[in-house]
């Protein structure tokens, strides 16, 4: 069965909720912009990217780096910057959260752009953050082995 990666617009955002969302976003920004340089995509996956906002990537990739990362980890578009996924990988390793990088992140729902992620999680539009990861190395191993067995 193919993966289902489209986040559909359910439940739809009402005009009233949008106003409320903007109010919450004000407070969310106070935390997330200085801490993570949040780009306000409204569909936060910070917890699976080792708390570095992947939307800083010029291509806004949500599933890992493109093929252009330099040997020193530089971004191909802005060579003076480090590739954000390069940083995510090394911090994931440091925080023992590599197994989360194996997860395929859904296609971005552009209707959620500039809405409050906290409210979207509460309304169950998007997945809740994954705060703790135990036995990261074992999980990666299981993922690979599980998959080999599923095929056979």
């Amino acid at each position: 069965m193919p993966m289902d990666l489209a986040t559909l617009n359910k439940p739809p955002i009402t005009a009233r909720e949008r106003k409320f969302s903007r109010l919450i976003l004000f407070f969310e920004d106070l935390v997330k912009v200085p801490l993570f340089r949040c780009q306000r995509c409204g569909e936060c996956i910070l917890s699976s990217t080792a708390f570095i906002c992947c939307q800083r990537c010029p291509k806004r990739l949500r599933n890992g780096p493109c093929g252009g990362t330099g040997e020193d980890g530089s971004c191909e578009v802005f060579p003076e910057r480090k590739c954000v996924w390069y940083k995510i990988y090394y911090r994931s390793k440091w925080l023992h959260r590599i197994s989360l990088l194996y997860k395929v992140n859904k296609i971005h729902n552009w209707n959620l752009e500039r809405t409050s992620t906290w409210l979207n999680v509460f309304k169950k539009r998007i997945d809740a953050p994954i705060l703790f990861v135990r036995n990261d190395k074992q999980k990666v191993k299981d993922l690979i082995v599980d998959d080999a067995q599923r095929e056979n």
Binding site: P2, R62, N63, G68, Y86, K106
Partner: protein, 297 residues
């Protein structure tokens, strides 16, 4: 035999590549196809590669199909949102195209329209999943199609870019999303490539998807130097550049080098084929195929 059947029957695959012209000249494709017909299993048609506006990959692939060469249409996420991608894929399926290579696409500032808006609505992994979904009869919206597509899905991999493990994670995601063949960046660093290949086999990915190693015959030392300086994520061993510089006939040396690399790759465990990229030098394909002893098609 189609490419899908060849991959399923475990034959050694050989692919070529044609870059469409920056004009409305369809004969350009017909002419180039002659260098490949009867020598390779399928030919990639690039989709506005390096972000330069070119003849569309779907139209070029159709021309190639009419010439009797099996095309692999490339599809990038830079120029299309999810509506355009699905509509183009349906159109391609209706024209009889059966192979699609899913790519994210080079960033627009590398091309001739650096002022353009890049779309990147999907990324390559999500695109693979979207095509797989269309193959199962559904669009991204969840709506059912009366006639599903039957694409053989391909993807690209770069074994040479950093971080090494992240490349394997990306490959894992691509294969699990539905990619059935993987084309790699040109190999000019056999040591890194064999290290990568070992891991790919260990993870069981080489069984689920056919790994086609990229090979590029260099025309001169300058080609290699330009690639090293300007193409991000390409690793070229100094030894190869020196060899090209010292060669009396650089073209002959380039062919010799490509054949040598192909022979080594063929011995490697897990490599199921070669993806030949004779950039601006398509006419050399038959020579390389003959010298490397790859009598395919």
């Amino acid at each position: 035999m189609t490419l899908r059947e060849k991959i399923e029957s475990n034959r050694f695959i050989l692919c070529g590549e044609i870059g469409p012209p920056q004009s409305c000249d369809g004969d350009f494709i017909r002419e180039k196809s002659r260098h490949f017909k009867g020598f390779v299993d399928a030919v990639n048609i690039t989709d506005n590669q390096t972000a330069i506006a070119k003849l569309s990959s779907i139209a070029s692939a159709k021309i190639l199909l009419d010439e009797g060469v099996e095309p692999i249409m490339q599809m990038t996420c830079r120029d299309r949102n999810r509506l355009a991608i699905q509509s183009d894929l349906m159109g391609a399926a209706a024209l009889g195209l059966r192979n699609v290579l899913c790519l994210t696409g080079d960033y627009q500032t590398f091309g001739d329209h650096p002022e353009a808006k890049g779309v990147f609505d999907l990324d390559s992994i999500q695109l693979i999943a979207a095509v797989a979904k269309m193959n199962s009869g559904f669009l991204l919206s969840g709506r059912e199609m009366k006639k599903p597509s039957e694409f053989l899905i391909g993807a690209a991999a770069n074994p040479f870019a950093e971080p090494f493990e992240m490349r394997l994670i990306r490959l894992y995601k691509k294969v699990n999303a539905g990619a059935r063949f993987i084309q790699t960046q040109p190999v000019f660093d056999l040591e890194t490539f064999s290290r990568w290949m070992e891991k790919v086999v260990e993870m069981g990915l080489a069984e689920k998807a056919a790994i086609l190693a990229g090979v590029m015959p260099p025309k001169s030392a300058k080609t290699l130097l330009i690639m090293k300086a300007e193409v991000p994520g390409v690793k070229i061993n100094e030894e190869y550049i020196q060899r090209m510089k010292n060669a009396r006939d650089p073209k002959e040396e380039g062919v010799k080098m490509a054949v040598e690399i192909i022979r080594t790759l063929k011995q490697m465990k897990g490599v199921r084929g070669i993806h030949l990229m004779p950039v601006l030098w398509e006419s050399i394909t038959p020579v390389i195929v003959k010298e490397a002893g790859l009598n395919n098609a």
